[in-house]
């Protein structure tokens, strides 16, 4: 069995990368290592159907010549020197055909505050422990399907201006769907610490919720007071960057930062959503692939429009400093990304949020949510899994999933209660990305397709 170690031996790694970066004719070079050695125990249909041990490494080299940048990437240290040369050649090629010097630079060195991302309980979360939990889930619920995993995440960035950061982080993940007749329930969480996931309790709770979901009926179209569980709430805040809090939209003058602009009240005063890699939830790492320390950026600060996340390019266009959110998604151009979104918790329990509702709906989870209108913040999707009517402050009859089309901003403007317990879920196509949220209570949420 593979040992739980760094994908690339850390001894002398920074020196090796610095040496590789310095050996070219480019004006500046930056090298980022993104590595993960992961072990995943996936189960469904009464068996562990996909046990996987996956080690992936990518060395991304960005070379700058006369202010023009190009990237080349490879998978192994052995190919790094050639890759640095390739990036430099590409950059020179761009510089030669450009009419003038370009604006590209690399980050200046800045100290990063130390945050331990290594947890021994995740080290102990080995194949045997994960298989035992999978078996337990399938014993408690014959139709259980899920995945338990652990990984060592490794990230290093060096550049010729003196940046040199390296971190090793543990990563624990768990997810489970329980099905009892037509009743279903889903749980998911991510954390650097396996112990923080509380998997045994999550299994029991999820099976219990699926059992309570038997006999569910349709949800009538209409406007409802809703209590969104942490996963549903997290899904909604994941849309905020699309409303203009990504640097490239802000630079184009599109979104809330352009109009109504910073400081405008667009959500309830108890709503603060920040990208915060210093917050111990999700999968934080303290610097981005350009080597810039990640700043806490409040997208919504007590309901008011805050600021955009940026990388070196968009920060330059906006005339600010990079907030440390450089990212490259597969098959997409590079753009700054909010990878550690956190909706600040309140002090209520889910039960107390529900107790404040005379008639409404509890929504455990949303599915296939998509942006419909960037201006109004409208999205569409369906609710699913453990959803219930709320009657007189208590969960009542289970309800089936239903389509909704509603503005995220409109809902956030009505929030009058936040839970205290947080859960995290991955952000699609973002390396180490997570959205973390508590349960929330909001009003006038519209279920149904037609307006």
């Amino acid at each position: 069995m593979s040992s739980f170690t760094a994908p690339v031996p850390p001894d002398s790694l920074l020196e090796t990368l610095q040496k590789a970066a310095s050996g070219t004719s480019a004006d500046a070079v930056e090298i980022a290592l993104l590595g993960r050695a992961g072990e995943y125990t996936r189960f469904a249909g009464g068996r562990i159907h996909q046990p996987q041990n996956i080690t992936e490494t990518q060395f991304i080299v960005r070379a700058v010549a006369d202010g023009h940048a190009a990237r080349a990437a490879c998978g192994t240290l052995g190919d790094l020197s050639a890759t640095v040369a390739r990036a430099a050649a590409l950059a020179h090629d761009l510089a030669r055909r450009a009419a003038a010097a370009g604006p590209a630079t690399v980050a200046d060195p800045v100290d990063i505050s130390d945050m331990s991302l290594w947890h021994d309980d995740t080290v102990a979360f080995d194949a045997g422990a994960r298989a035992a939990l999978a078996s337990s889930a399938m014993k408690q619920n014959e139709a259980a399907a899920g995945m338990f995993g652990r990984a060592v995440t490794q990230m290093a960035v060096v550049n010729t201006a003196g940046v040199a950061h390296h971190t090793l982080a543990t990563e624990a993940s768990g997810s489970l769907t329980a099905t009892v007749d037509e009743g279903t329930s889903h749980w998911i969480d991510l954390h650097r610490s396996a112990g923080a996931l509380g998997i045994e309790q999550a299994i029991a709770r999820t099976v219990s919720e699926a059992t309570a979901g038997r006999g569910r009926g349709p949800l009538a179209d209409g406007h409802y007071t809703v209590v969104l569980g942490p996963q549903a709430a997290g899904e909604l805040i994941g849309f905020l960057p699309d409303f203009g809090f990504g640097g490239e939209l802000a630079a184009a003058g599109v979104g809330l930062l352009a109009a109504p602009g910073p400081g405008a009240q667009v959500a309830a005063p108890i709503v603060t959503v920040a990208d915060d890699a210093g917050f111990a939830a999700g999968l934080p790492i303290g610097f981005d692939l350009e080597g810039t320390p990640k700043s806490r950026v409040a997208l919504l600060d007590r309901g008011r429009v805050g600021a955009a996340v940026t990388d070196l390019t968009t920060a330059r266009e906006l005339g600010t400093a990079s907030t440390g959110h450089a990212h490259i998604a597969r098959e997409e151009p590079p753009r700054p990304v909010a990878a550690n979104l956190v909706l600040a918790p309140g002090d209520e329990t889910e039960e107390s949020l529900i107790a404040g509702v005379e008639r409404g709906v509890y929504v455990q989870r949303f599915w296939y949510t998509r942006l419909v209108d960037r201006v109004t913040g409208t999205i569409t999707g369906v609710s699913r899994d453990g959803c219930f009517l709320i009657e007189n402050g208590r969960l009542a009859a289970p309800v089936a999933g239903a389509r909704f089309t509603h503005s995220v901003l409109d809902l956030l403007a009505t929030v009058d209660g936040l839970g205290r317990d947080l859960r995290s879920q991955p952000v699609m196509n973002v390396w180490n990305g997570a959205a973390t949220a508590p349960a929330l209570r909001g009003h006038n949420f519209r279920f149904g397709a037609a307006s």
Partner: protein, 490 residues
């Protein structure tokens, strides 16, 4: 020099030697083992309005080994720095299978005759041999054309190319060597003004369009003239009216039909979903194993085929990622469900036909059921004939938003553009068009499909599995006429 003569794994014998080393480490203690050794290189060039160009090229090489021990799977993958990595991956895969002993029902694969061979994408001009200058001259032209209208706030153009050596071997004796090249382009325009934000894209709203072909593919796209069109349309949409909600007849253009196929046909017909393997992540299907062979899924005008032997698409290959030779199957035949997209594991467990749809994202992930080149068989006539047949209604195309439930049943899609159609003639441009429905009712309302001259193919990325892996596939369609569709739902 051939477009396939690059890297360190162009030679089949070198690859076979590495694969044999990996399999040799576990063959005498496994019921079955296979290994995929892949070298890939991808180039992406983007230009964005107001920014410096972004140029990147990514290379990786690695091996993934899958073993079956006493009916339990194990899988391990790692980058290939040396031969030791191949053997280590095999040992890790074996150890993970052994650790799973007693944790569930064992799988038994029916024996399969070995099949060996070589396959290579037909390439007229190697996209990796095209100069930087030539790429950026094209991109600059597209960007300038797309951003010419005053209210264009953001515009982006891109060219992408990828080449792969994919080698496969298994303990049944199959030895396969496939060499792929793909080329693509994208254009995305955002207009802002009159209190609205609108987007237009070309040639596909999902990361552009990519085909299994060389540089010659780009000339088939007429990017420059299309760039000017989508720039103007994005701005025109800002002040366009919206369609009234209700029921209407609609001719759906080929890009939007391809997305409809992807979401409501391809995913619904993946056998691992049907069996519940993806219940925790990608979802399930409204189609049950007992429905196969009898369920009416659509009208007699609807025949949907999986055929990876069609050349030139992102879903084209000679062998899938667990070594099954490619073949054509009608998944939906004149409206009836006949076959699924299956792999060996799901076919063995359910007794369904093995259709060779095991796909994986490079070397790093276990193959799962993904679409191949899955397309709607064309009917007859032109788009104009179809509009004439419809009379009054709408013509829509190019996906803007897509949402469908876990079972692939209840969907709501939006398109970037819609045109009012009166007496068979296109009229006003409309914005924010959306439609919704229930999958079998929707496909059951398809009255006609345009002919082969209107057929287009679109390459897609897709996500599935935990950890999530990408699948790369293709869907094709000609425009189709749908009667009495629910529109204006968002």
């Amino acid at each position: 020099m051939s477009a396939h003569s690059w890297g360190s794994l162009a030679d089949s014998s070198t690859a076979a030697s590495i694969l044999d080393s990996a399999l040799g480490a576990v063959s005498d203690k496994s019921d079955f083992a296979d290994a995929r050794l892949i070298e890939a290189e991808e180039m992406r060039s983007y230009v964005t309005l107001g920014s410096d160009p972004d140029e990147r090229i990514e290379q990786n090489i690695g091996i993934g080994v899958r073993v079956l021990v006493d009916g339990q799977w194990g899988f391990a993958a790692r980058p290939l720095g040396s031969l030791t990595d191949a053997v280590s991956a095999a040992h890790d895969a074996h150890a993970s299978a052994v650790a799973m002993a007693g944790h569930g029902k064992p799988v038994s694969l029916p024996p399969r005759e070995p099949s060996s061979g070589t396959y290579a994408t037909e390439v007229a001009e190697d996209p990796f041999a095209v100069s930087t200058e030539q790429r950026y001259e094209l991109l600059a032209g597209w960007l300038a054309a797309a951003s010419a209208p005053e209210l264009v706030a953001a515009a982006q153009a891109g060219i992408n190319a990828k080449r792969q050596h994919r080698h496969y071997a298994d303990t049944e004796g199959s030895r396969q060597h496939q060499h792929f090249v793909e080329t693509g382009a994208m254009l995305l325009v955002t207009a802002h003004g009159h209190g609205d934000v609108q987007r237009r894209s070309y040639p596909n709203s999902f990361h552009g369009n990519t085909a299994a072909a060389g540089w010659e593919y780009l000339s088939s796209l007429s990017m420059l003239e299309q760039a000017a069109r989508v720039g103007e349309e994005a701005v025109a949409l800002l002040t366009a009216p919206m369609a009234d909600p209700g029921q209407a007849d609609v001719v759906i253009g080929p890009q939007q039909v391809s997305l409809q196929i992807h979401e409501s046909s391809g995913h619904a017909l993946e056998l691992d979903r049907i069996l519940g393997d993806e219940a925790n992540y990608a979802g399930t299907s409204f189609i049950r194993p007992g429905d196969i062979g009898s369920l009416r899924y659509g009208s007699p005008a609807v025949t949907i085929t999986s055929d990876p032997t069609v050349p030139g698409t992102r879903g084209s290959f000679a062998f899938d990622d667990e070594g099954t030779p490619a073949r054509a199957f009608n998944l939906i035949d004149e409206g009836i469900v006949r076959h699924t997209l299956s792999n060996r594991d799901s076919a063995a467990r359910s007794g369904q036909t093995l259709t060779g749809a095991a796909r994986s994202d490079g070397w790093g992930y276990m193959p799962v059921c993904f679409a191949t080149h899955v397309f709607l068989q064309p009917g007859q006539g032109s788009l104009d004939d179809l509009l004439e047949r419809m009379g009054d209604g709408y013509y829509i195309d190019d996906n803007r938003s897509w949402s469908i439930d876990n079972q692939r049943l209840n969907f709501q899609f939006g398109t970037e553009v819609a045109y009012e159609v009166k007496r068979g003639r296109r009229g006003r441009l409309l914005k924010n068009f959306s439609y919704g429905g229930i999958t079998p009712q929707f496909w059951g309302s398809v009255e006609a499909v345009a002919g082969p001259s209107e057929f287009r193919s679109y390459g897609y990325p897709c996500g599935k599995g935990e950890p999530k892996q990408w699948g790369f596939l293709s869907h094709g369609a000609a425009p189709m006429l749908v009667r009495d569709l629910r529109i204006g739902v968002a």
